[in-house]
Subunit: 671 residues, 2 copies
């Protein structure tokens, strides 16, 4: 539908949509930076969605049963900010929008979760929103199975662009969502045929509708500028038993005389001359950032409706028994059951006494048996490596179309999709996601893992086969740089436990931080090194003295994970020669860095020789070897210097010189 | 077709295929590690492909016009090793296969490029093979356009499994290949319905044929155990004008009495009892690793045919003019035109004199104008950020269906697919790929970039917008950990040039190394800091003294890229106060680490205070700040401590304290 028709046939709708468009245009112009084309193109769809379908209450943005709205095409952020302001979210003011993309404004370049309410997830890296929304839909189904449809009964709506659909992660997301019949997931595709380089046809001719249908989606279509047609398509999409794609035929930069339907409308201000003409075409004589009161109050009325819907929900919620209500509120608040901590402490005590020799991936499974038994909100899974990641515990049940109460997700060979879905599960609330793959394949999940870190989602990445210790699979499967890559990522806790006790401590910390955690776990068996039970969680300090020097302390060995055993053996060799050697286990660099200087120096005092031991690259280690009054002349490292090789583990450690003898020799050479 | 039928109707085929199967079974059993199921399932398809279609000559594995064979399902490596041995590749012996997965054997867990001839690319991380093959097909078309179909006329065949098709990168690869009508790309899908967790249906119900068709592929089907049907399907696939998918219906672990069609056949030895039964079922009484002479000679005959085909090709090749032949040989050898070096030297001289103030992404474009004019084998591109990455130079032309001579590829919003395709272009030979995106989106390409590093492919990653300097787009677009992540990756050169001169030097080095290179380039303008022309490429040393202290040297500022300007300004402030300050520009850590100790110490002598400056995290920097007789007490760093923010660049650098004043203050605090 063209603008004259639209204005004539749907004057009220037009004004509401025009308000969004003009706010986007003027904010981008004022910032002299941003993306006006997408909000101009999708304003009609967004207006119909918010006016006729979306369940939300600006006065209670965290209302658990609200619909989730995800702007996967995050560069169109002004579309979202305009909607938040117009519908009455108190923390998105007209001044915030006036300060679009300026330091301190919640109206940032791309939507940043937590910077303003109503922003359900951080988007911008293309494809992430659509993949994250799959997790929201999983959580919705899981919560509904636990607490009933009376109190959990919402949809997840996504606006995605051509770029989102071209990113590979979108295929992982849609094929998984199709397999799971996530019927409350509705994707509104901004089908404008334009990308940054020009026409989408420059690089793609995919029939997207056929592609989605091939994975079991119901597929719909509409004129993205015809309110009635948009409404019809959304109604149809909600009525199906499958996830739904709505192909919204839109014009990027709708109404811009020279820039509509061109890449020129995508990522830069329209310019004063063009904007002046747009105001005429829109019939919008008002100055920038001024919304006429009738339009604003029309929008505010839409926002106000949520109160009623929410009140009805609250009435239904009150009808749940007090126990169920309390449990619902507990999981939505993200607090853990009180019984978990003592159960884990008891588990650690038992392990310290029994001192089993198992791989830490198996340790993790043993810990999960305790956690999953006490924490009904965990949702585990693996990217098709269940038996290798040891992520499945008994009685979890499979999350599937006909068993939404199941708590184990078969994500398929989709590491990136799994990581993004876990972000969505955590963001939705009520569930705690963990998922496994090999540490080396964190490469595939980086895009979503970085968003976990930026948003601080409580996601636990269970990464097994964490070194050359995996053996025969060879270099492509043996991580050497990944610990450095993950430790270098802000807001992420990387745990590399040395045994079952440290694994239990790491898991406990992972569930208690407000941030993503990585557990790097071995394929090979390791002895229990923590045979003296402590009530305190020693891993919480990041690093601690595992074994003290017998005689005068001349050396400190710092090790993580599977190399702690090697350090202990090296210590034995050195002590035999009368070289007093302390062994420091350092399961989590980030937590150790957070300790006060006094503690750090008590673990790593100046003076003794320091040798680090880790079956990975040295990159990043110098901080602990040289730092805090360590000295280059008295520091060395035993680890990898390049990629691994294909051979049994018994051959690989000696081949790469990662042995107790090598560690001892380095110490002797330095003292 | 079942085994009795197959043995009866196709006895000769059966024996050849059985040889592959038994070698795989026995090698995995001997190694007590590996994946027998896939070779057992795909042996019939592979036999027909190698016997009836594949153009190859084991006596000249690098013959330029050979068909490329890519085993995307790399875990089935024994399928490939068996074929290489049976067809007569001299560097894959029966003893190598006997030592499958043992240290030093070229028969590694997964196929490793360069470890044995006939291995066209390293595979194992799922989806990489199919995505890499797209690049091989691009290079084939490009070379054919340059040198003619008489000498460039081959296919790329891929064997892909369900896992390859589930990985998102496969979507990026297939949708791009479909758009480009890469008709010489034929994917043989091992459709056995089994993944590691169990049935593929556990996690996917995608109609793969419909999915490929939706992106313009021709789709075919066959009984993967019926030689005639396989042959028919391959003939049909070769006859189409589009890339072709052949859905090969196979049985994993074909013929294993208890394990066929189960996940039990996928990733572990069958076991002695099962194998004994398999020998009966196969009618294969021979001991492990013994191939009866009639079967071996039948296979060797197939291998020997290549000589004839290659001789015919050589005759046609001789008919090219001597100039064209020499050029063909030059590009296949990967040597650069002699005129490039002087042209780049002249460019650097001109720049040093003119001292333009431009963004290094623009510098890169200026350098590329010189390179692309002199190096006709470059193939540039971008993941839909052409105008931002400045990767397109004049007269390159667009590589497209009807313009294969074009040298610029619109990869679409497919960073991962682009990186994998560039690996394929480099592996094919005759072309030098470079491609652009934002540095932060290297996250999306990690899977393929790690393979670039493992294989040492000459791929140039043009990563622009390399810090908070990109401004308003905010945290999701501002890399802070990526330099650390890339520097931590072995076998990768990371260049962060400070100006146009260093950019030219970096580009020259990138084209001359036998390894992948990353160019981290700015969005914002930078002054020319190298105003004194040197004939020597100073970036080749990794780091060098840019400005020496005037008075007694009390401080050394170490900076990269856009922060070199800040270091120079800090030096001015410090020298004013009589604090002798040296500025070291360090565009490439890896190259500096390769220099001898004498040079390194001449650049970073012991004694003076050292302050590092980089708009990124400190992670990894301690090596240069504390190392080689630096000292913690006299070292500091100015950079980022977490994620960025959305604001104009003028606000961001002061906001994060990355200023000349801050650097000078750190120095004064330390001396």
């Amino acid at each position: 539908m063209n603008i004259p028709e639209l204005r004539e046939r749907h004057p009220e709708h037009w004004k509401k949509a025009a308000a969004i468009r003009m706010l986007a245009i003027d904010a981008v112009e004022e910032a002299n930076s941003g993306h006006p084309g997408m909000p101009m193109g999708m304003a009609d769809v967004a207006t119909v969605l918010f006016e006729k379908h979306l369940r939300f209450d600006p006065t209670d943005p965290k209302w658990p049963d609200r619909d989730r709205f995800v702007l996967s095409a995050g560069h169109g952020s002004m579309l979202l900010y305009a909607l938040l302001y117009l519908t009455g979210y108190s923390d998105m003011t007209i001044d915030d929008i006036r300060r679009f993309r300026q330091l301190g404004s919640p109206a940032e370049g791309h939507p940043e979760y937590g910077h303003a309410s109503g922003i359900e997830t951080t988007t911008g890296p293309l494809g992430q929103g659509i993949a994250t929304s799959v997790g929201m839909a999983i959580a919705e189904e899981s919560m509904a199975a636990r607490f009933g449809r009376k109190v959990v009964d919402h949809h997840t709506y996504v606006i995605a662009g051509d770029g989102c659909l071209m990113e590979g992660v979108s295929q992982e997301a849609l094929s998984f969502a199709g397999r799971q019949d996530l019927s409350r997931l509705i994707v509104l595709w901004d089908d404008n045929g334009i990308s940054i380089d020009g026409k989408v046809s420059l690089s793609d001719k995919t029939d997207q509708k056929a592609r989605f249908a091939a994975s079991g989606w119901s597929v719909h279509e509409c004129d993205g500028h015809d309110p009635d047609d948009i409404d019809r398509a959304i109604c149809e999409a909600k009525a199906t038993g499958q996830p739904a794609l709505i192909d919204c035929h839109t014009h990027i930069g709708f109404g811009a005389p020279t820039k509509q339907d061109t890449k020129g409308a995508h990522g830069s201000p329209l310019g004063a001359a063009e904007i002046a003409k747009v105001r005429e075409i829109y019939g919008w004589p008002y100055p920038p950032f001024e919304i006429p009161s009738d339009v604003l109050s029309a929008w505010r009325e839409i926002g106000a409706r949520g109160k009623v819907t929410r009140a009805e929900w609250t009435a239904r919620f009150e009808k749940l028994g007090p126990g169920k209500r309390a449990e619902f509120e507990r999981v939505m608040a993200g607090t853990l059951p009180k019984k978990l901590a003592p159960a884990l402490a008891a588990f650690r005590k038992e392990i310290s006494e029994g001192a089993p020799k198992v791989a830490t991936r198996k340790s993790s499974e043993m810990v999960l048996e305790v956690i999953n038994a006490h924490v009904p909100e965990t949702i585990g899974g693996s990217a098709d490596l269940t038996g290798s990641n040891n992520t499945l515990t008994k009685d979890l049940g499979t999350f599937d179309v006909d068993s939404r109460g199941g708590r184990y997700v078969h994500y398929g060979i989709r590491e990136h999709g799994m990581a993004a879905a876990m972000n969505g599960i955590a963001l939705h609330g009520g569930c705690i996601p963990y998922g496994g793959t090999f540490l080396v394949f964190s490469d595939y999940a980086r895009g979503a893992m970085r968003l976990s870190a930026i948003m601080g989602t409580r996601v636990v990445y269970v990464f097994t086969h964490d070194s050359i210790g995996l053996g025969e699979d060879g270099p492509t499967h043996q991580p050497v740089e990944h610990l450095a890559m993950l430790r270098a990522t802000p807001g992420t806790y990387v745990f590399r436990p040395a045994d079952t006790v440290e694994t239990a401590e790491s898991w406990e910390l992972a569930l208690n931080t407000g941030a993503p955690s990585v557990l790097a776990l071995t394929r090979q068996n390791l002895p229990t090194v923590r045979t003296r039970h402590t009530r305190q969680n020693l891993t919480a300090r990041g690093a601690y003295v595992l074994e003290e020097a017998v005689g005068r302390r001349k050396a400190i060995l710092i090790a993580t994970g599977s190399e702690v055993e090697i350090a202990l053996n090296a210590r034995t060799l050195l002590e035999r020669k009368g070289i007093g050697t302390r062994v420091v286990s350092m399961p989590c660099w980030e937590l150790f860095a957070e300790q006060d200087e006094k503690y750090r120096k008590s673990v790593l005092p100046a003076g003794p020789v320091r040798v680090g031991v880790e079956a990975a690259l040295r990159f990043g280690w110098d901080r602990w070897l040289f730092g805090e009054r360590g000295s280059e002349k008295k520091a060395d490292f035993v680890g990898m210097t390049g990629f691994g090789a294909s051979a049994p583990i018994e051959q690989l450690y000696p081949h790469f010189g990662i042995t107790a003898e090598a560690v001892a020799a380095k110490v002797e050479a330095l003292i």
